[in-house]
Amino acid sequence: MTEVEKRYAELMDHLPVGVYRNTPGDEGRFLEANPELVAMFEAESREQLLGCRVNDLYVDPGQRKVFCEKILRHGFVREHELELKTLKGRRLLAEVNATLKRDKGGELYIDGVIADVTERKRAEADLRRACAELARSQKALKSTMRQLLASRDQLEQAQLGLIQAARFESVATLAAGVAHEVKNPLQIILMGVDYLDANLPPESGDLAGVVGDIREAARRANAIIREILELSVAARLDRREADMNAVVERSLTLVHYEAQAARVQVVRDLAPSLPPVLIDTVKIEQVLINLFLNSLQAMAQGGRLTVSTRVERARDAVRSNGASTVGEGGEHQFVAVEVRDNGPGIPRELLPKVFDPFFSTKPVGVGTGLGLAVVRKIIDLHEATIDLANGAEGGVRVAMRFRARSPTTSVMPVPDAPKRQRTAIRPASRKAAILEAR
């Protein structure tokens, strides 16, 4: 050996990778193998390794075929992974880099280096598994997080609702206490007015007007108190089967005067035959009148008030009450009532407040801000729903849904509404009078 050859031989002997030369094909054999390769395949000696077929080191000789085809086609392979086994049968994963060569006689042979990557692959697989595991638990964590956030939102919502309800109740309770106290002095004023009225000298002129004004004021105060109490007293509903269309008609009659005075056109869009609803007609009339008056007051310069009714089918959108009937497929029938106006609508930032007791944008004497609070309370008592929003084409749109009494479509006769005692009413106190008549 020359000096150079010796150096190379030494290099080969100490390289920590398997270096080999073998021949391709099924009967291919090793021509050269460095000590690392001998150790890798657990051969007793270099000679033992050179003595065996290359195929014998493959777990699946098919892989050898693929390997040979590849190297014959391209002249080399890079980082080719193979499943191999040692002479003692231990499996190993190997990565091979090899080049195809041809000797002087034209015979093909392969020079290559081979690294045992079993450990590395196992670590990689472990890592991949761990990563997947991590991704999974991250996903789980994320969804848990989402759930947590959602339930926190729900909790916050419920809490807000509770606070709102508590505030509402305490305002209402406080107000009710005051209201009762105010009734007695009001009673005295009304009695005094009655007495003065009966004793006015004939041709008393202004005096009669003054007495009339005092009476109106007292009635208005009384109407406000009535509304406040409406909020606080655990109202008993006198629910009966009723035809919503008839209730709408009666309520419209009661605001007929205001509608005319405001030059508002009233449009009825009533479904021809509605299933009956189980309602307290007096209270629902109160709801409708409050909504009509709001719309009319918003359209003092004229406009259009549209009332529509229709039948809707929906899955359980409203809390169930014993009286309801479930239609086919668990669907319920609802009677929807919608009140629409084309007034200026409600500024977005005020929308969340309109149902609050005492929230009003109207001057003192015109609005107490109890109208919608009472509406909400009555709707809640009926286990119905109400939705107030600005309409797409301007104005306000209030949609209510009542659970229908039964799936039949026949219109039930409406029981006689309580007799209304009607008195001559001046526009400003129309609502008071309507409430008074209850």
């Binding site: 009001l186 009655d194 009535r226 005692q421």
Partner: protein, 126 residues
């Protein structure tokens, strides 16, 4: 108007209310009114006055209207005199919802105007 005046006893701790109610009722000359502002003296006054109808406030200090009614109903001479309760603690709607009766006795919700009150009184005194 009918011949004899109807005797009405009003029991209410609010002095100005009883005075005004008396004035209102008596000027229509169908009624003779006696007022009582101290509920503890109501029974004695009723025995003396022998009313045909009693208007009785519910919420009064010393003796609530309900207790006064019990006293009146326990008296054989007064048992048949109709009692109408007057109260601020009840709404008109509630009164009409139970047919104007609470605990079997008629109620009128305060504030009430003379027109309506007279209607109720006439109905009971007819």
């Amino acid at each position: 108007m009918k011949g004899a005046k109807k005797r009405v006893l009003i029991v209410d701790d609010e002095v100005s209310f009883t005075r005004l109610l008396k004035l209102n009722l008596e000027q229509s000359d169908g009624y003779e009114v006696q007022t009582v502002n101290a509920p503890l003296t109501a029974l004695a006054e009723a025995r003396r006055f022998q009313p045909e109808l009693i208007l009785l406030d519910v919420m009064m200090p010393d003796l609530p209207g309900g207790d006064v009614a019990a006293q009146l109903l326990a008296d054989p001479a007064l048992r048949h005199v109709p009692i109408i309760f007057l109260t601020a603690a009840i709404k008109k709607a509630e009164v009409s919802a139970c047919g104007g009766l609470v605990g079997g006795l008629p109620f009128v919700a305060k504030p009430v105007e003379m027109k309506e009150l007279r209607r109720v009184l006439d109905a009971y005194l007819a």
